[in-house]
Symmetry: none
Subunit: 214 residues, 2 copies
């Protein structure tokens, strides 16, 4: 039985060592090389292609998305398994679209990592249960909100939102914007409805979560 040939990439020396150690002690795995940045990796891939590439995405220089895209195009036979701490849904989705075959968080057990490598090698997609749930939840929960609502927040509402978060009262906001307090209150209620919260505390929190304010 031929071994699975691997290349590792991570800028964390600790992780690289841990991985090297893990794989060295596992049957059917062979580490061809280990790089600690994207440039080295791209160079190295010109000379030698692994079956599976373990890739960390928070490396200096290239972003994970860029790197995955380049590699998937240049070396379509190399299966990319992303191994990282980043668990933001946007990043995960983007990476999978860029050509990654699997996504495992660094907090995963060694067994899961080995399983992921074998799955990806066999041509199957592999997502950790945790990651999969997150993506599902995200697609269910946020499509209506973030997509439609976020966009429908008007200029004026955004201004009011900023000032609410900056700890001004309706009266003060009215003075700053040279409009009536009633108008400000109406904008505030519009914001509450659009963001699906019931008071200013929730409003500010949601706005922060959605990136509407700093």
């Amino acid at each position: 039985m031929t071994k699975i040939r691997l290349i590792l990439t991570d800028d964390h020396p600790l992780i690289l060592n841990g991985l090297r150690n893990l794989l060295h002690n596992s049957d059917g795995m062979e580490v061809l090389a280990a790089y600690h940045n994207g440039l080295q990796l791209l160079d190295g891939l010109e000379k030698q292609q692994p079956d599976v590439l373990l890739l960390d995405i928070q490396m200096p220089g290239y972003s994970g998305q860029e790197l995955a895209g380049i590699i998937a195009k240049r070396h379509p036979d190399v299966k990319i398994l992303v191994l990282t701490n980043e668990d933001s849904v946007h990043v995960i989705k983007s990476l999978l679209q860029s050509g990654a075959m699997g996504y495992v968080l660094k907090s995963a057990s060694e067994a899961v990592i080995l399983e992921a490598i074998r799955a990806v090698y066999a041509g199957r997609q592999f997502l950790e249960a945790e990651v999969r749930d997150k993506i599902v939840q995200h697609t269910i929960h946020t499509r209506q909100e973030q997509g439609a609502l976020n966009a429908s927040i008007t200029r004026r509402e955004k201004q009011v939102l900023q000032l609410v978060a900056a700890n001004y009262t309706s009266q003060e906001i009215a003075e700053k914007l040279c409009i009536s307090k009633r108008t400000v209150d109406n904008h505030r209620i519009g914001l509450l409805v659009k963001l699906g919260v019931k008071n200013s505390a929730g409003l500010v929190k949601k706005a922060v979560d959605l990136g509407l304010i700093s």
Copy 2:
């Protein structure tokens, strides 16, 4: 020459292995034990105390701040070296105030990690250059608000704060915490005063800025 006795704590198997490997191959280091959550660690420390404790703070169960505080108090001779990915200034400051002697990011080279262990063992504080700069910049640019204030926020107030940010009313918070609405209101006012804001919107914003809530 006696070896430096170490205990490791991290919920990432990879990192734990990497560390174990690194330290095993380094002179003057001896790993007594390795735990992968806070509860195990606290139990283990009752039986055996290391010279230096390598601590990750993003573990399930206990937060890093809590853990560092408890350990520093219960085992004052144990030098705590925080080894983590978290690079938020608030978290770092809070940990140092809680009794941590050193702070190293996981992206650090192995040489830096070894250096940090030796420094902390010798009773010196050790901050990675990157971390130190960040703190200095932050302290220069912000007033001396949160040093005193942040620390004086009580457990209960923090709970209330979480729920306020989660868009609950005083009445709902009261029910959730099984206390009177009046008590909740008192805690809320206490928070307003301590954080120097005048309403809940500002409260949530400031709490986010200070890293008190997600």
